[in-house]
């Protein structure tokens, strides 16, 4: 059953990895731990849910499942919309809250605190609007496929792994090969010098919010598709996201994805070895271990330490 735990871990880890990539990007460029990142995950999932529902009921053909998957074309379209809406939400919060605080020259910890307040407001607003009852993209039960080695996996799960790895690779290429990616790495290292080198730092800040929130929306949608959609889903993911971002090394996209998979695998094995009720403790154990042994993370620059 080790093989099955591996697969479950990878599926779970792909979702954590996607979120952690967003955390690591925003953390390295905005320079504070954003406690509201989990809420971008939840809002992304709810945006996708609403759009999917609207599209599915407007055009029934869009709701018909694509191939082996549990969802119709309405979901990919809804996901694109959710990415855009989440990005807009993140930009709005930055415009209202973080931007003014940055301009005042507030200390890092004030920004952390503001993100904490924003998280509180965003999460409870979701609970107010949708109640705490879980929602599902589809009520259809998906039949798991049998894979070699006696592993069972649904097509949706395999898709989550594929999309997670694909997006991480794409983002890594974006950061290393494109002008905007270069500029992002420059701002992450030294925002003051970046301005002097001709980079519009405010544009890079907006870019990183769009990317971080977009990835959060993808993570939220997959989490909703594979498990369920709840207002607390982002809060529950927050510790794994932070643990993975720090384990991967702040600023490292491949690091965050790999660390996300590690945390996901850790959770899957913990579920089998210790019991499902202890799952949430795995991220804390990972966090303590990395802070104790290698605070700069697996792939981190010296700066992160």
């Amino acid at each position: 059953m080790i093989a099955q735990a591996l697969l479950d871990g990878l599926v779970n880890g792909a979702v954590i990895g996607l979120g952690a990539v967003g955390v690591t990007l925003t953390y390295s460029i905005l320079r504070f731990a954003n406690f509201a990142h989990g809420e971008l995950v939840s809002w992304g999932a709810y945006f996708a849910f609403l759009l999917n529902l609207a599209l599915g009921s407007a055009l029934l053909s869009l709701g018909a499942p694509i191939g082996p998957f549990s969802f119709g074309w309405s979901l990919p379209i809804a996901l694109v919309g959710a990415v855009l809406l989440s990005a807009t939400l993140a930009l709005l919060v930055d415009w209202l809250l973080f931007g003014p605080l940055r301009r005042k020259g507030s200390a890092v910890i004030i920004l952390v605190m503001a993100s904490f307040g924003a998280a509180l407001a965003l999460r409870n607003l979701l609970e107010f609007l949708f109640s705490s009852a879980p929602l599902y993209f589809t009520n259809a039960l998906q039949i798991a496929m049998r894979l070699p080695g006696g592993i069972r996996a649904t097509p949706d799960q395999l898709l989550a792994i594929g999309i997670g790895l694909g997006l991480a690779v794409a983002l890594h290429l974006f950061l290393t090969r494109t002008p905007t990616g270069r500029a992002m790495r420059a701002v992450a290292e030294n925002p003051q010098l970046a301005g002097v080198a001709g980079i519009d730092v405010r544009r890079i800040v907006r870019t990183v919010w769009v990317l971080g929130a977009g990835l959060a929306a993808v993570a939220g949608t997959f989490s909703g598709l594979l498990v369920q959609i709840r207002p607390q889903m982002g809060l529950d993911l927050l510790l794994p996201l932070f643990a993975a971002a720090i384990l991967g090394g702040i600023g490292s996209v491949p690091g965050a994805m790999i660390a996300g998979l590690i945390v996901g695998l850790g959770e899957a094995f913990a579920v089998r070895l210790v019991g499902a009720e202890w799952r949430a403790g795995v991220a804390f154990v990972v966090l303590v271990a990395v802070l104790l042994l290698r605070p700069q993370g697996l792939f981190g620059a010296r700066r992160a330490a």
Binding site: G117, L125, V205, P231, G275
Partner: protein
């Protein structure tokens, strides 16, 4: 009728004062030292459970129940929460300032997890009952009972207030302030800044543990649900409203915010239909979140303002250029 009202008022104030104790603890960590604790509920819970285990009568279905006197329970609560704080602080204090925040958040998650799952110690989701309450001999007279409890908590708050004020004007407090205002100078003077911060964080945690124990013995019953993140948020709101760095403000903030909380809770209770109560409660918390952000934006020194001490973290200095991302704090060396 008037007696009922008086009893309710005494009850209300007792709860508010128990929050004031937590807020005083947070003030030592944040207001005086600038250490951000996102897991307040976890430290309060550690204190509550420690004291409950030490003082409840022996229970056959779980570990402990040592039947010790309440005062031993309170001491144990402070010790347990202080030690947990010490461990978290030692783990993260050398690192970036927000790593401590992340780690304390993790502590709250794990404490919650343990409270729920370590059935044989914590009683699981149902918690621990039959926690001895002080003044049980007055239990027949609700008013007298409430007043006695109120007096006890008022005494705790007063003692704590005097202790903290003295401590802050002592050499220890002066060093702490020096570290906060200018870490480079403090370190150069040969005062190991890390140790002082660690001590302050542990002290703050111990005070939160004491508050947890006091609440547990006042109510007589604890369960994991009492220590959800909402508690952390409430305490933060209390400190921010009172003005961090200010002990009197912390106490007043606790009473004011608890009053607002109770009042808005009862308004929501009467305005919203029964099916919407849970959602209305969520709205209440959402508003606290918005309020917290608004205060950070417009009144960073709290509504009552700071007395005497201005936290380095709340001072806003004009920085190089508005287009730049927030300046890197000095403790992060650039590669």
């Amino acid at each position: 009728m008037i007696l009922d009202l008086a009893a309710y008022l005494a009850f209300f104030l007792t709860v508010a004062l128990s929050y004031a104790v937590i807020t005083l603890g947070l003030n030592v960590q944040w207001g005086q030292t600038g250490l951000f604790n996102v897991g307040v509920a976890g430290f309060v819970a550690v204190g509550a459970y420690a004291s409950a285990l030490l003082t409840t009568p022996d229970a056959p279905d779980r570990f402990g129940g040592f039947g010790l006197p309440i005062i031993v329970g309170w001491a144990g609560a402070m010790l347990a929460a202080g030690l947990v704080s010490l461990a978290v602080g030692a783990l993260t204090m050398r690192l970036r300032s927000d790593y401590l925040a992340i780690a304390t958040f993790g502590v709250a998650v794990v404490v919650q997890l343990c409270a729920l799952n370590l059935q044989t110690v914590t009683g699981g989701p149902f918690g621990i009952g039959f926690i001895p309450r002080p003044f049980t001999s007055f239990a027949g007279d609700p008013l007298l009972f409430s007043l006695a409890n109120l007096a006890l908590l008022a005494l705790v708050v007063l003692a704590l207030y005097l202790f903290l004020e003295r401590l802050l004007s002592s050499p220890w407090g002066r060093v702490l302030r020096a570290i906060r205002e200018d870490e480079a100078a403090a370190t150069a003077l040969g005062k190991p800044a890390l140790r002082f911060r660690l001590q302050a964080f542990a002290l703050g945690g111990a005070i939160m543990g004491l508050a947890g124990a006091a609440q547990a013995h006042f109510i007589g019953f604890i369960a994991p649900d009492n220590y959800l993140p909402t508690l952390t948020f409430q305490v933060w709101a209390m400190l921010i409203v009172g003005g961090s760095g200010n002990n009197r403000g912390a106490i007043l903030g606790a009473v004011v915010v608890w009053a607002l909380w109770a009042l808005s809770g009862s308004v929501i209770g009467s305005v919203f239909p029964a099916g919407w109560q849970a959602r209305a409660a969520a709205l209440q918390i959402a508003l606290i979140g918005v309020g917290l952000c608004a205060i950070l934006l417009w009144r960073p020194r709290g509504i009552l303002g700071e007395r005497r001490i201005v936290s380095r973290h709340l001072v806003t200095a004009p920085k190089a250029n508005p287009s730049l991302v927030n300046n890197t704090p000095p403790e992060i060396p650039h590669a």
